[in-house]
């Protein structure tokens, strides 16, 4: 065994261990903040796995997108609504937990079977890719063009949705004292610049 192979083996073991332990921590810990931080650990371990598979660009993108953006946003959301209220214990909580465990074990069995039965010897010898970013770009603009563009459309839809939600502003003071029942189900909106042909009716009366 050469030095490189030994390093790979040890790194693989350590990464596998951290991935599994951190993922179990995400699910099993009671404190949601710990779960969120451990999720970041899971993402980083997965990025390490990508590195071991010679996918350095994907590993860096994994850290940038999942750790740097997704996980930070999750933490943001948790910390901005940081209500420490004791949750009322559920009745028959073990039924839900048992069902969840059953579904998870079933999924695990399914994936395990697939992993074992598939023959993984697709290529006799893994080709060494020099510039991974270049190869990814070539694939994105040839045989993976449609999924790539569809993903960007999906992100565009999500962004438009986020903008629409962000432009509404809930103003609780505006509703105090008026007895109009029609207004209850409408979120009062911030006054906008007249873009629409007819301006919206002022809501606060």
């Amino acid at each position: 065994m050469t030095l490189a192979e030994g390093t790979q083996l040890v790194s693989f073991g350590v990464l596998t261990l951290t991935t599994i332990v951190a993922a179990l921590g995400v699910v099993l810990l009671e404190n949601i903040v710990y779960s969120a931080f451990l999720l970041g650990g899971v993402f980083i371990s997965i990025a390490g796995m990508y590195l071991l598979l010679n996918a350095d660009f994907v590993a860096a993108a994994q850290i940038l997108v999942y750790v740097g953006a997704v996980n930070v946003l999750i933490l943001f959301a948790i910390m901005l609504v940081n209500k420490r209220e004791p949750l009322a214990p559920l009745k028959n909580a073990w039924v839900r937990q048992g069902l969840t465990a059953l579904v998870c074990l079933g999924l695990f069995a399914l994936l395990g079977t697939v992993a074992i039965t598939t023959s993984w010897n697709v290529l006799p010898e893994a080709p060494v890719v020099g510039d991974t970013a270049l190869r990814l770009g070539e694939h994105f603009f040839s045989d993976f063009l449609l999924p790539f563009e569809l993903a960007s459309v999906l992100l565009l839809i999500a962004m438009i949705g986020a903008i629409v939600l962000a432009r509404r502003e809930f103003i609780p003071d505006a509703r105090t004292g008026d007895g109009d029942p029609n207004l209850i189900f409408r979120l009062p909106e911030r006054p906008r610049d007249p873009v629409a042909p007819e301006p919206l009716e002022p809501i606060s009366k």
Partner: protein, 372 residues
């Protein structure tokens, strides 16, 4: 451009000649560049702290540190020793685990980014194919550590500081990445070595700063915001938040934040000099100089001088930028948080997108000048 001194292969060859097996020689070599980079980063921080004290004193017409060593050069060492010996306090109601891990998560990615900082053709820890991208993705890990320490301190100022730090660093990462992307597009590579070599041809005229006049300003503003320097030091705004996410920290944990922020400042300056100021290249190409005095650039002593000039050039450019950052810190007022976010999202982001688009257009139109 494969000339220059290759310390790695020479050192391994030397060890093999001494009778060691080649695998052992490689193992012996491996930790050397990494340890050297740690030392370089730490000494760089000491110099930057001394400069900060001296320049701030000069700006305010004071003397600054004088007694520790000549001109007070040992003052940063004294600072560091003081922090080292201070009692390590964890607040009573804080979360001890997150409180301890937080500073480490802030510091580790910054030091890891030094992997890709080149001081010469072969004077780099590793020439990664994804160099610039690695830096951007690693710098996006830092906000997690800031959020962690802000949250675990169990202090409202610390929490607000952590949230501000995360918001700021996410906002400014995008213009930063887009301005780097324009450079990468001109160099056809993410590797820092290739980025420097692409600028090396015409001396000072070939540096990217002339080709990216908008890009380098965006990069500098975003880098200042990422390193939380004034005018963008909102996460630790003293008048509003005591010290932001560092409020409850003391001793070595505080020293880690302090170290991390200065290492990050120097890293940003180093990468600015790599991306826009031609890295290790001299204003007049060294090969041209060698041709003028009539020696071949492949002679051993010329190569040693070339390497020395390269390292000196990187450091000179870097510390000129650090000087600029310090001067900005002590002469500009702090922006408000809404001004900061407006600047990032409504001004820098569209401008950097337009810069990217124009660079792409120019690259198609003038492939000679813009690296076609």
């Amino acid at each position: 451009m494969e000339s220059g001194i290759d310390l790695q292969s020479s050192a391994i060859q030397l060890l093999v000649d001494l009778g060691l097996p080649s695998a052992l020689a490689k193992v012996l070599w491996l930790p050397l560049p990494m340890a050297l980079m740690l030392v370089v980063a730490t000494v760089g921080v000491l110099i930057a702290v001394w400069l900060e004290r001296k320049i701030s004193a000069a700006v305010q017409q004071r003397y600054g540190p004088e007694y520790a060593g000549p001109l007070g050069v040992l003052q940063p060492v004294a600072d560091g020793l003081k922090l080292l010996f201070k009692e390590d306090i964890v607040p009573d109601r804080a979360d001890p685990w997150l409180f301890t891990i937080g500073p480490a998560i802030v510091v580790i990615p910054v030091f890891l980014s030094y992997l890709i900082v080149p001081f010469g053709q072969n004077l780099v820890v590793t020439d990664l194919g994804i160099g610039a991208f690695l830096w951007i993705s690693l710098s996006s890990v830092t906000p997690i550590g800031l959020l962690m320490s802000g949250y675990s301190s169990n202090n409202k100022y610390a929490l607000i500081g952590g949230l501000r730090a995360a918001a700021q660093s996410i906002s400014y990462e995008i213009p930063l990445a887009l301005s780097v992307l324009a450079i990468v597009m001109m160099s056809n590579s993410l590797s820092t070595i290739d980025i420097v070599n692409q600028q090396a041809d015409h001396g000072i005229l070939g540096w990217n700063i002339w080709r990216q006049p908008v890009g380098f300003i965006i990069f500098w503003i975003s880098a200042l915001a990422e390193t939380e320097r004034l005018p963008f030091d909102l996460p630790e705004a003293e008048e509003e938040l005591v010290a932001g996410y560092q409020t409850e920290y003391t001793g070595m944990k505080f020293a880690l934040f302090y170290l991390g922020s200065y290492v990050n400042l120097i890293l940003s300056a180093l990468l600015f000099s790599v991306f826009y100021l031609g890295g290790w290249s001299f204003p007049i190409p060294v090969n041209t100089l060698a041709a003028w005095i009539g020696v071949s650039p492949d002679v051993a002593w010329v190569q040693v001088i070339t390497a020395a000039i390269g390292i000196t050039m990187v450091l000179v450019k870097t510390y000129a930028l650090v000087f600029l950052a310090i001067l900005l810190r002590w002469t500009t007022p702090r922006v408000r948080i809404d001004q900061l976010l407006n600047l990032g999202w409504k001004f820098l982001l569209p401008v950097s997108l337009a810069n990217l688009l124009i660079t792409a257009g120019l690259k198609l139109a003038f492939p000679v000048a813009f690296g076609g």
